[in-house]
């Protein structure tokens, strides 16, 4: 029997077995940001330990960065303290920091692939659940807690037990107007927000193999929303073409050797999986969430479900809680629901491809009256590309606030927040209660295409109809 990529990467990074039975796993690279690392450095200092492999660590500030005015000092003293702690810790330990001045700052899950630091066959961790994103490049990447960040700082290893592997195949051609975001939401809807507990998701099938790298990053980013701690896609020509020429990618003879090595990590054709799920691509519609968990989603043509339709008593209860929080009634069509705010950005959909897809649809059109629309590129590199290609100007002309890079209104740790019970058409990753900064704010997760349609009409709208896709 052949092996999965997950198993091959795991085996290649295994140091040994710990007394409690867990594996000591070597970590090829760890990424750091300002929210989950300062406590880890403090713990390290308290133990009198040093950073073992600083050359395998890369940092950037993202969560607390304001996206309107980045002149320092920031208005929020707590944000200043967090940023300064990251800077001091990186400086003291000789860790590469992609800081605000320097042109390479951004959301950690955008910056590291863009710079070519994320590479196939690596084990990658970060104190951030959306680390799953990096699996798109054929890496085993997962979110960890702060105590584990300390473990990696001190030892470049972690105590872990292997996950099972579920092969999630999307076969066929996606219909027009259906994006990687819709595929991800559809998979989560189908397998459940807890369906991936104990699993890594290997995404495959012709619909996924034909996605570009940004789409793959979107898909793997959302693996964790289906409870899969890591999601990945086997490295292929799309992966190698994406990496070639990036600043941290191998060059010259090193490049050829690296590609051969990377190819060897792809799952064998006869690899054994713990589970296989096959989804026909043509079943997937532009998809939108209606509730407070990412699996509470429906196709754009659908209606808000009734608790009576739920499969069991627990889900019925969850549906009732969600309907009450979202102030929606069962049977109401989701299309036509008025929104207050539109947010295009985040580590899920803040990529250059996302803005390139939306810009031509906005040309010559205006954001609907009374709608606040934010466009937040995920990184400084993406922001520059958007300026160079005229994309930023199209967004501005359409009435979007064109912002500076950061996590922004995905989790509202900066000033970008919903107010009261506003409804936000959002390209981010979580529709949890209070996620976007107001304890009563409401989030509808959707693709950038659907978010653009919502911005122009002020309502949840099928992008295929509005944009004649």
């Amino acid at each position: 029997m052949g092996k999965t990529l997950y198993r091959k990467v795991w085996d290649a990074h295994t140091v040994g077995t710990l007394p409690d039975g867990r594996t000591q796993l070597f970590i090829a690279t760890m990424y750091l940001h300002e929210v989950t690392s300062p406590q880890a450095f403090s713990m390290l200092r308290e133990l009198g330990l040093r950073v073992l492999h600083p050359e395998r660590l890369f940092a950037t500030p993202d969560h607390i960065i304001p996206t309107d005015d980045q002149h320092e000092p920031f208005a929020d003293p707590r944000a200043v303290a967090m940023l300064e702690a990251l800077r001091a810790n990186c400086r003291a330990n000789n860790i590469r920091l992609f800081d605000l001045p320097g042109g390479q700052q951004g959301i950690v899950h955008m910056v590291m692939p863009e710079l070519g630091i994320t590479q196939p066959g690596m084990t990658i961790v970060c104190g951030d659940s959306h680390t799953a994103t990096h699996g798109a490049m054929g890496a085993v990447a997962m979110g960890i807690g702060t105590t584990q960040v300390r473990d990696v700082l001190a030892t470049q290893t972690l105590a872990m037990s292997p996950l099972k592997v579920r092969n999630v195949r999307v076969e066929g051609r996606l219909r027009p107007g259906v994006t990687a975001k819709d595929v991800a939401l559809h998979i989560i809807g189908r397998l459940g927000a807890k369906g991936g507990l104990g699993y890594a998701y290997e995404f495959g099938g012709s619909a996924i193999e034909s996605m570009d790298m940004d789409g793959r990053l979107t898909l793997c980013n959302l693996a964790i929303e289906g409870a899969a701690r890591c999601g990945y896609i086997n490295p292929d020509e799309t992966t190698f073409a994406y990496l070639k020429g990036r600043p941290y990618a191998p060059k010259g003879a090193e490049w050829d050797a690296a590609v051969e090595r990377w190819k060897s990590f792809a799952s064998d054709p006869d690899a054994e999986y713990d589970d296989v799920v096959i989804i026909p691509a043509e079943e997937i519609e532009p998809t939108v969430t209606w509730g407070i968990s990412p699996d509470m989603n429906i196709g754009i043509g659908g209606c808000i479900p009734s608790p009576e339709d739920a499969r069991d008593a627990e889900t019925q209860k969850a549906y009732r809680t969600a309907l009450e929080y979202m102030k929606l009634r069962p049977g109401q069509p989701i299309a036509g629901l008025p929104v207050d705010v539109v947010f295009i950005g985040s580590c899920t959909n803040g990529h250059i491809s996302d803005f390139r897809a939306v810009a031509p649809l906005l040309r010559g059109r205006r954001v609907a009256p009374g709608i606040r629309a934010l466009a937040v590129p995920g990184s400084q590199m993406t922001a520059r590309q958007c300026e160079e290609e005229g994309i930023a100007d199209i967004f501005r002309a359409a009435g979007f606030e064109w912002r500076l890079p950061g996590c922004s209104m995905c989790l509202a740790m900066n000033a970008d927040k919903l107010e009261g019970d506003q409804i936000c058409a959002s390209t981010s990753n979580r529709n949890f209660k209070g996620r976007q900064g107001s304890p009563t704010g409401r989030t509808l997760l959707m693709s950038p295409l659907m978010a653009a349609a919502a911005a122009l009409t002020g309502r949840v709208t099928d992008p295929r109809t509005l944009f004649e896709l």
């Binding site: 140091v15 867990r22 989950t36 979110g143 584990q148 037990s161 807890k194 507990l197 627990e314 969850a318």
Partner: protein
């Protein structure tokens, strides 16, 4: 570094039931604006417990009868969402010493184990029964027994489950992994030398 061997937790319980209790609900992002975990005591489930004006929503945690509870009774996929260790830290620093739920999100589970907060699973029916019992008689003392894998009080006993490795780690006082991870530096260095790392070229 000798650590406490965690073999059982005894105390009052408080039900925080419901599926998919995400870490944004356990600790809203605005509380993450800190460079230490020291300020997190009392912040757990904040927006579930308090209205915007600071008035109580009457959450079980704030009912006088559950004051001083040491055990949370939770639902399915407890701790899903963000990897923020602030979530188990806030729970632990608020006086909770064990969480019993139907299932746990992976990262939350690992984070909790790493700080010596046992997360153990019980069936939905048993959790509902335990919650009913503890609501009727909040002073009931429960024991989460990791040796016998039982949740019990003087009137009832329910089976618990947990993966073998973290259970061993807690019971042997090895839950803070860093000690073990430093035991094989040569093997780590050999592997490090054999594995490429990204660099500017």
């Amino acid at each position: 570094m000798p650590l406490t061997r965690i073999t059982s937790v005894t105390g009052k319980a408080v039900p925080v039931l419901g599926a998919d209790m995400d870490t944004d609900r356990i600790i809203p992002a605005r509380f993450l604006k800190c460079v230490t975990f020291d300020e997190l005591a009392g912040t757990m489930f904040y927006d579930e417990r308090f209205n915007a004006d600071g008035s109580s929503k009457g959450h079980p945690i704030d009912q006088a009868c559950h004051a001083g509870a040491a055990i949370i009774l939770g639902g399915e996929n407890f701790g899903c969402g963000s990897s923020r260790e602030h979530a188990p830290q806030a729970i632990k620093r608020s006086g909770i010493r064990a969480v019993v739920a139907e299932s746990f999100a992976e990262i939350f589970f690992g984070n909790s184990t790493g700080i010596g907060l046992p997360c153990v699973c019980a069936s939905r029916a048993d959790l509902a029964a335990a919650a009913t019992l503890t609501q009727a008689e909040p002073d009931t003392l429960w024991t989460v027994d990791l040796e016998r894998m039982q949740l019990r009080c003087d009137r009832a006993s329910y089976p618990l489950s947990m993966p073998a490795e973290p259970r061993e780690a807690l019971m042997q006082g090895r839950w803070d992994a860093v000690v073990e991870l430093m035991n094989a530096p040569e093997a780590v260095e050999r592997l490090a030398a054999s594995l490429p790392r990204p660099h500017l070229s």
